[in-house]
């Protein structure tokens, strides 16, 4: 998907293949137009102040917001409004107007709002540093923002835009963009009396700026100068039942463990209470950008890719049930998968997108299997606080999802290819979060029509396996590795024992050789593989 297709001149204008190049965000992109979303969003008064832009651009932005939830096929043409927007944004003035429009008109409570901003920015041409600096002048960023007339929604949207730009322009440009005014704006938002949506996306923007190490140091120092460090009070929100605050808490804690470390503060994985937790999200079986809470039960994605994870416990027979607390109401695909299901996060494929997994997305109300979706009628979109129940009955070969105890239709299609080896699994679009209950606390809506087992009663994890290590610590461990002299030239994992014929090139292990069609060194077709008699036998 989205390849260069050099050999295929028919699609060589770059446009039709470009739509999902950066894969990212295009998680939402699978399968044909569908019925409109029931986005019962809370009504918001129009902002008092609007950044200068043009009505027809506002209209295009809203049109894309409306249509994007219905776009579910990555092979599909992008909506015409997207192309128009791309062309407008190709000129510097146009780019600034497009961004201003998004800030003005994307509503706070649309579950796809924030991700659609990132999606549109990702599709627009990359701005120059000058355009971005001009943009921050338009926004007049500073810490006095609270006193100005722009609404919380606009502030939230500005933070989303800043985060997106920081990520795309990581490096010297990102340093230039993080001006004092921008930094003041973002840091002054980290106060408990600010709208929690604004706090949340300010934190995320800071995290994205910190991808450039010079920025990370700047931000960290500024945070340390504030006494007390605002992240320390925000991280206490991690267990809140108000779901926006809870996201703030999760993000603040993640930042403290991963990015803006404070001397003397113990890592969360050292202080968290794991008593009674026998199953977790598997930190060795997760795509690279998903964030997992220190207790291994809550996950969040702030990347623009479609991030996935499986749990640590496998089931092969019987009847099993787990629940998920929906913390954000956007696109997540939650359900069941075997190990054969692959996480192609950058291509926008996740759980439910191959033959070995089945998932429910309660935002678009679609049941996913093999990258095809089936619409579930007569239910509302899921909301923050809903409980998704996931029942797997291997005796009857059925999967039944339920929302707050009300079962959806029975699914059987997964069992055509998969009979055993199932894991709880989920995929997350950007800015989505949920909490898993594998049975360490009582279920809210246990199935009543059949007896079932829970993972937590049958699984065990040793203390080491329970540690959710921040990635910088994990990578530090990895770098200490070294490889043996006689290891395979391709994987460096196994011993080199194979010689390719007729070209006689050697230095490969059996596993790698099996995947080869031609010699990696000389491209000669491989007719035969022999055991390399020169390789030491030990």
């Amino acid at each position: 998907m989205g390849n260069c297709l050099c050999k295929n001149t028919a699609s060589h204008n770059g446009r039709n293949s470009s739509y999902n190049t950066r894969s990212s965000s295009m998680a939402m992109a699978k399968n044909s137009y569908d019925h409109p979303l029931d986005l019962t969003t809370q009504a918001e008064p129009p902002p008092q102040f609007k950044f200068p832009t043009l009505p027809h651009i506002d209209k295009l932005v809203l049109e894309i917001l409306g249509v994007i939830g219905l776009l579910v096929d990555s092979e599909q043409e992008p909506p015409p409004a997207m192309l128009k927007l791309h062309n407008i944004a190709d000129k510097e003035d146009g780019w600034i107007q497009v961004v201003s429009s998004m800030v003005n008109v994307i509503p706070m409570f649309n579950p796809l709002g924030a991700s659609v901003i990132t999606l549109m920015l990702d599709d627009c041409p990359l701005p120059s540093k000058d355009s971005v600096l001009r943009l921050s002048q338009v926004f007049q960023l500073s810490q006095d923002h609270k006193k100005t007339k722009i609404s919380a929604t606009q502030q939230r949207n500005i933070c989303v835009v800043l985060g997106c730009i920081a990520e795309r322009l990581a490096g010297p440009s990102s340093i230039a963009i993080l001006s004092d005014a921008t930094l003041d704006f973002l840091l002054s938002n980290l106060e408990e009396d600010v709208d929690p949506h604004v706090i949340l996306f300010s934190l995320i923007a800071l995290e994205k700026f910190a991808q450039t190490s010079e920025n990370k140091i700047t931000i960290k120092n500024r945070l340390l100068k504030k006494d007390p460090n605002p992240l320390l009070s925000l991280e206490k929100w991690a267990n809140q039942t108000k779901y926006v605050q809870r996201q703030v808490g999760f993000s603040a804690q993640w930042c403290l463990d991963n990015l803006f470390l404070i001397e003397g503060r113990d890592y969360s994985h050292n202080t968290v209470d794991l008593t009674g937790i026998n199953v977790m999200l598997n930190t060795k079986d997760v795509s690279e950008y998903l964030k997992i809470s220190p207790n291994g039960l809550e996950a969040r994605c702030d990347a623009y890719s479609f991030e996935s994870v499986r749990c640590t416990f496998q089931v092969d027979e019987g009847v099993w049930y787990y629940e998920t607390l929906i913390i954000t109401s956007g696109v997540m695909q939650i359900g069941w998968a075997t190990k054969d299901s692959t996480f192609l996060n950058h291509e926008g494929y996740g759980i439910g997108d191959d033959q070995f997994s089945l998932a429910f997305d309660g935002c678009r109300r679609l049941i996913w299997h093999n990258a095809r979706s089936e619409r579930v009628f007569n239910i509302p979109c899921w909301r923050e606080g809903d409980i998704l129940g996931c029942l797997l009955d291997l005796n009857k070969q059925e999967i039944i999802f339920s929302i707050n105890g009300a079962p959806l239709k029975t699914c059987k299609q997964l069992f055509e290819k998969a009979r055993s080896g199932f894991f709880a699994a989920a995929s997350f679009m950007s800015f989505q979060q949920c909490l898993f209950n594998f049975g360490n606390v009582p279920f809210k809506y246990p199935p009543k029509d059949r007896t079932f087992q829970t993972f937590n009663d049958h699984a065990t994890l040793n203390p080491e396996e329970k540690i959710v290590l921040p990635r910088h610590l994990f990578l530090k461990e990895l770098r200490k590795f070294s490889v043996r002299e006689d290891s395979c030239e391709l994987c460096f994992d196994r011993k080199a024992t194979v010689k390719l014929l007729p070209c006689d090139h050697r230095g490969f292990c059996q596993e790698c050789s099996k995947q080869l069609i031609e010699c990696p060194m000389c491209r000669a077709p491989i007719q035969e593989m022999s055991i390399d008699s020169n390789a030491n036998s030990t």
């Binding site: 390849n3 260069c4 050099c6 050999k7 060589h12 204008n13 770059g14 470009s18 190049t21 950066r22 041409p125 990359l126 120059s128 540093k129 795309r168 322009l169 990581a170 490096g171 010297p172 440009s173 230039a176 991808q211 190490s213 991963n258 930190t283 060795k284 079986d285 997760v286 795509s287 690279e288 950008y289 692959t342 996480f343 192609l344 950058h346 990635r471 910088h472 994990f474 990578l475 990895l478 770098r479 590795f481 490889v483 290891s487 030239e489 391709l490 994987c491 460096f492 994992d493 790698c512 995947q515 080869l516 031609e518 990696p520 060194m521 491209r523």
Partner: protein, 151 residues
């Protein structure tokens, strides 16, 4: 994260210890499969003096499949389109698992020295490159100045 293959660890170590002249490739702190790359524009090319930022990602089945590489800095080049995608055979059908991050980046640097308008990705650029090379080169220099000499 899925366990990181030794191959990637080994390549990363070597990139750090023996960097390639004119190329910097630094793994992301939170994702060892993602590299922040900066390539300097080769001498005697219209890209001379520019610093070009790229992203490089090693897919799950690397090295059996090629790294995904993309220019982030805008560049006027017949084999690189406006989204930064690169038309280079070793990134597609001519990939070999014996190639590495460093060899890929060297090939990209070479592509800057020797644009190939006969196998274009950016058609309008390639067109001009064929019809009026000196104007195309002027454009390339202008874009380099505008987008790749920020700092």
């Amino acid at each position: 994260m899925a366990a990181l293959p030794r191959r990637i660890i080994k390549e990363t170590q070597r990139l750090m210890q023996e960097p390639v002249p004119g190329i910097s490739a630094v793994p992301d702190e939170t994702n060892a499969r993602y590299f922040h790359v900066i390539v300097t524009g080769p001498e005697d090319s219209p890209f001379e003096g520019g610093l070009f930022k790229l992203e490089l990602f090693l897919p799950e089945d690397y090295p059996m499949s090629a790294p995904k590489v993309r220019f982030i800095t805008k560049i006027y080049h017949p084999n690189i389109d406006r989204l930064g995608r690169i038309c280079l055979d070793i990134l597609k059908d001519k990939w070999s698992p014996a190639l590495q991050i460093r060899t890929v980046l060297l090939s990209i640097q070479a592509l800057l020295s020797a644009p190939n308008p006969d196998d274009p990705l950016a058609n309008d650029v390639a067109e001009l490159w064929k019809i009026n090379e000196s104007e195309a080169i002027r454009n390339a220099k202008e874009w380099t100045r505008r987008y790749a000499m920020d700092n």
